[in-house]
Amino acid sequence: MNDAFEPKIVAFFCNWCTYLAADLAGTSRLKYAPNVRAVRVMCSGRVDPQFVLEAFAQGADGVLIGGCHPGDCHYQEGNYKALRRYELLRRLLNQLGIENDRFRLEWISAAEGERVKAVVNDMVEKVRALGPLVPHKREEVA
């Protein structure tokens, strides 16, 4: 789109894996795109689809969910629930005109600071290429 466009990505990171990985990326002084607003949740399974829709409705250009690898969930199966919801929600968002690259689910363990960097940078570039998400702005009808 234009050079001035900086994508806004809302990232929901689970407390036990991905948030620690982001922390590790920080203490390791890894540099990654500053476009991500990280929200710590206790588990990727805590990410209510309403949170994702709300983020898009409020102006996010992309939403990233980070959770523990399959089998590693602190709560046994929260990440599996996240995966099932993600797959269905991704399809629903497609119907509403929101592309796959704007909504991403990644498994990132506490040791994978490098992976946070790689995923975030990759997503920011893909969303940058797509351009700003301008959801239907509801003009006041009344």
Binding site: D48, P49, Q50, V52, L53, E54, F56, A57, P70, E77, Y80, K81, L83, R84, R85, E87, L88, L89, R91, L92, Q95, L96, G97, I98, L133, V134, P135, H136, R138, V141, A142
Partner: protein, 312 residues
């Protein structure tokens, strides 16, 4: 003097009007207790009859249907001014209903589909010095409360007789419900489901099946059998009529008060019970749900957080 009431319809199918007629003798007692001043589907009143009334002189207007064009907007604005209470009657008025699914398209694509290469109606037309006008067709469907202030909601497609009776009694009673109330029980349909006891403690579904693909057992929890039953996300009050007819709940009573976005919650409820963990099997299981918006937002797209398809 009897209190005045009015009925009006906007973008709707007429089922809500039918639901009022279905009150049978109860309707006669309503007619005894109140004076019906406007009801286009059944009685011959004109717009000028409403215009002649002083502001606030109607006790309650029951408005069904979503808002789709400028004529509907004008009428509901008029009724709002004349009424002390406005009731969004039925799920179309409350959250958009079936007509709200048109928000997956816009005016341009709808007109292209409907009129093809034929004659497209214009909003004004002059013939022998007379100007004829048509209402403006809006680009998106809106809920009633996006257009005017709404006092109460009566959900359902259509509202069931018991819900209508309870709503009318609540309005005629000494204590009016708080403004903004949905006049139906604030709990999930599963709570009043006759098959409640057959719902397993840990519900897991191997595959989802659509209603034309199988005949469910008549006693067992429909969701446990793989039917996409939205009872867990839907407000109670309908007496589980569809379930009693061996059909899964499609969510026409909308959400309970704790939920902001019905479709998101319904999707969440269905996805959570899918018995699959591998990525490939998740994809396969979800393939059985080819139309998520039509399934989860069947009655509520215009009220959703993302209320329409993004414009290209």
């Amino acid at each position: 003097m009897k209190p005045k009431i009015a009925f009006y319809w906007c973008a709707s199918c007429g089922g809500c009007e039918e639901a009022v007629v279905d009150l049978d003798e109860t309707l006669l007692s309503v007619a005894d207790a109140a004076e019906i001043v406007f009801w286009p589907v059944a009685l011959d009143f004109k717009v000028k009859d409403i215009q002649a009334l002083p502001d606030g002189s109607i006790l309650a207007s029951f408005i069904n249907g979503a808002i789709r064009n400028s004529e509907q907007r004008e009428m509901v604005e008029r009724l709002r001014a004349k009424s002390r209470v406005v009731v969004a009657f039925g799920i179309c008025a409350q959250s958009g209903g079936i007509p709200g699914l048109a928000n997956l398209s816009d005016t341009k694509s709808i007109f292209a589909e409907v009129y093809r290469d034929g004659v497209v109606p214009q909003m004004t037309h002059c013939e022998n010095g007379h100007t004829l006008t048509l209402p403006e067709f809006f680009d998106a469907v809106e809920t009633l409360d996006r257009v005017i202030d709404v006092d109460y909601y009566v959900p359902g497609c259509p509202p069931t007789p018991n819900i209508i009776r309870d709503a009318v009694n609540a309005l005629l009673g000494a204590d009016m419900p708080p403004k903004g109330a949905v006049l139906a029980p604030d709990k999930a349909l599963c709570d009043e489901c006759p098959r409640k006891d057959t719902r397993p403690e840990k519900l897991l579904v191997k595959e989802f099946k659509r209603v034309h693909q199988f005949i469910p057992d008549q006693q067992t929890c429909l969701l446990a059998q793989g039917a996409v039953c939205l009872g867990a996300a839907t407000r109670a009050g309908c007496d589980a009529r569809c379930i009693r007819g061996n059909m899964p709940c499609t969510g026409c009573f909308g959400p309970t008060s704790r939920v902001r976005d019905f479709g998101a919650k319904a999707l969440s409820a269905i996805a959570s019970v899918a018995d699959c963990n591998e990525e490939s099997s998740v994809v396969q299981v979800m393939n059985a749900l080819p139309d998520p918006v039509g399934t989860f937002y069947r009655y509520s797209l215009p009220s959703a957080l993302l209320s329409r398809r993004r414009k290209e």
